[in-house]
């Protein structure tokens, strides 16, 4: 397998432009009464028309049978080995809200939660308190313990980021979040000798926070998970000689994109807004990662019909994006989210790559069954970036 380092040696800057359109949670499963998946049910003539001109296939996000979370799913789409790079949840949340991470910060994702008078968790999300209340509670939690500064930042609803800043911190720590209601928060434990100091600080912080929040029902406790530091990775610019931008409505995807060096372009809340943003900045960048969240949310809710409707809505807006005439456009997902499973799944993801030199296959329907006969076959999602680069004529020949 060609490595990212080998691709780097071949990459050259050119004027051509690539759009990577990620429909989060794209793949699905057939509804038993029709035998058709969400994509097979939706009327999406514009996606189908693009498929007819494209090379199509089914991408495997991480590995056969493996259900990818959002982080490894996107890492693979950006051409990084998702098994070699570990981007912790804390870092992801922080980058997604423009939190200014410093090199050795240890970050965690926090939830305000509700505990009963015996300390047992009764609601892991504290009734999804308002972001405003979250903001005011976060302010109460900023403190210093020994030589460590503890910073907080609200995300949305009950979610926040916590940052431990100071000398000697490590991220090899277990969560205090037991992941289920009806249990008590767990002590944070160090997974390496070097992390003992950080575990002690985290546990002292949790104890103090418990007292501070005691009378703040329903947000009378907090859960921390995904202790992590910034990973050391090369930027997409360094690898691909691209000037990449991200357009995403949801913080985590912007955060992930910024970790690989993309510039965030602020946008609105709809697909139309996102396309407008691409248009406004089209001359400034040569790679656009456009992320659409709505489909995944419908899949997670188990709402087959809404997933179909969203696909049809996207389809109506697609020509506006295509009118920019990018040299290469990739349409794919970071993983499947079948409404039938109400969650991410291991199934392969319909993918198409359009470009003047893509060698179209005979696929005329952009769906799971349609893409099965495509020219890309069943392939690793990490191959999407090399293929997009090649189709944009941005990769030199390998060897004499």
């Amino acid at each position: 397998m060609f490595t990212q380092e080998q691709i780097r040696a071949l990459a050259q800057p050119t004027a051509s432009k690539i759009i990577l359109l990620v429909l989060d949670g794209l793949g699905g499963l057939p509804k038993p009464d029709t035998g058709k998946t969400e994509l097979e049910t939706a009327k999406i003539p514009n996606f189908d028309k693009l498929a007819a001109k494209s090379i199509c296939g089914l991408s495997e996000p991480v590995g056969a049978g493996v259900t990818a979370g959002s982080a490894p799913g996107h890492t693979a789409l950006f051409g990084y080995d998702p098994l070699a790079i570990n981007i912790g949840r804390g870092v992801l949340e922080a980058v997604g809200i423009d939190f200014p991470i410093e090199q050795d910060d240890v970050l965690a994702r926090g939830n305000f939660c509700t505990v009963d008078n015996t300390g047992i968790i009764t609601d892991r999300r504290a009734g999804r308190i308002s972001t405003e209340l979250n903001d005011s509670l976060c302010k109460l939690l900023e403190m210093k313990i020994d030589d460590i500064q503890i910073l907080t930042a609200p995300v949305k609803d009950h979610r926040f980021v916590i940052c431990f800043r100071g000398p000697g911190l490590r991220d090899a720590l277990t969560d205090n979040d037991p992941q289920h209601e009806g249990l008590m928060p767990l002590p944070v434990t160090a997974l390496s000798a070097g992390a003992i100091k950080t575990a002690n600080i985290a546990n002292q912080f949790i104890e103090r926070a418990k007292k501070i929040l005691a009378d703040k029902h329903p947000a009378n406790m907090l859960l921390l998970r995904g202790f992590s530091r910034k990973p050391q990775i090369l930027s997409m610019e360094a690898i691909y000689k691209l000037k990449p931008a991200v357009i995403a409505t949801y913080p985590m995807y912007r955060g992930l994109a910024r970790l690989v060096g993309m510039t965030n372009l602020p946008t609105g809340t709809t697909f139309a807004d996102e396309i407008k943003t691409v248009k406004e900045h089209y001359n400034e960048f040569d790679f656009f990662f456009v992320h659409l969240k709505a489909l995944d949310a419908a899949g997670e809710d188990g709402d087959f019909d809404r997933k179909v409707q969203i696909l049809e809505d996207f389809d109506k807006t697609l020509p506006e994006l295509l009118s920019l005439n990018p040299d290469v456009i990739v349409v794919t997902g970071d993983h499947s989210t079948p409404a039938m499973l109400k969650g991410h799944s291991w199934h392969t993801v319909p993918t198409m790559i359009y470009g003047q030199y893509c060698r179209p296959d005979k696929v005329t329907q952009f769906s799971e069954s349609g893409c099965l006969g495509g020219g890309l076959g069943i392939f690793s999602a990490t191959q999407i970036m090399p293929l997009a680069m090649a189709n944009a004529l941005k990769l030199n020949k390998y060897g004499a």
Copy 2:
């Protein structure tokens, strides 16, 4: 590529049940006069009906162009890297007859054979002597040489196991079996300095055995191959959190399954017997490896029509197995054994995975050509276990 160690981190125990049905030597080649393979010739409506509900593909046992032996073929099906694990023939034979192996034993597979008065092998199988005669000859061969105990155990017909037990033994040894008639038995040679003692013991043993057997024509000599020790591997229970059982009529497959920690369920000699055994123990286990040997034997004999007939017989019995309603059923082979080649071959193996969430493709014929258009594509046999686990909802999500 996702490793077994990474799959292990995602595996969770659930109540769902998996059946892995291995039709040994399943794939074939077309008969020149019909242009159809054994599977394409056989009338197998029940396999075809299952294929229509399944996700299908062609599995590659070890690597492109590589003909797999039974051990690597099965190692791959159980999800182990067949290139990383070397299970010697001696160990396999021993485990298959319940021989109580100790940690540092060196085991070999033995054949009684016939040699002429110049010592040249005239029949590598000694006319397939009876198991009773084999048993009585084995008893004559037990001895002690220096500090090494030499134990024997009959297998079947002319085949037996030999065990060298004592301090300082190593298994880096060549066979004394030249694999062809018309040649003399070879001296055993050490492939590492550490194995010189073992080679000397083995050669002394062979010399003594030659004298003991001199008047036992047709079994007047022995051939040893596959010197080996028990490999150090994690059990399937440790990796997959499964409670696995093996149902197989032939010792070697039971032995292989036991090496990865499966419980052997004694059974009869037919497919119907094996299914009856699965039924009797269905509540005690959640993974059943059911091995069918007959197809491979017909292929090895070059008997195309018998291979077809056996497939049709299996097909009639399949509904009985399906009536158990396993959550996931995999039908595959450990390698192809085309009657046209009278032996194992490198060809990919028709494979189907059925489960409620399998995302069926358009394959309606369980055959080489049918599976070619399947949703699994052409894939490594080592991916069958992760896919089966995923379909049984026994794998957690990877990453946030």
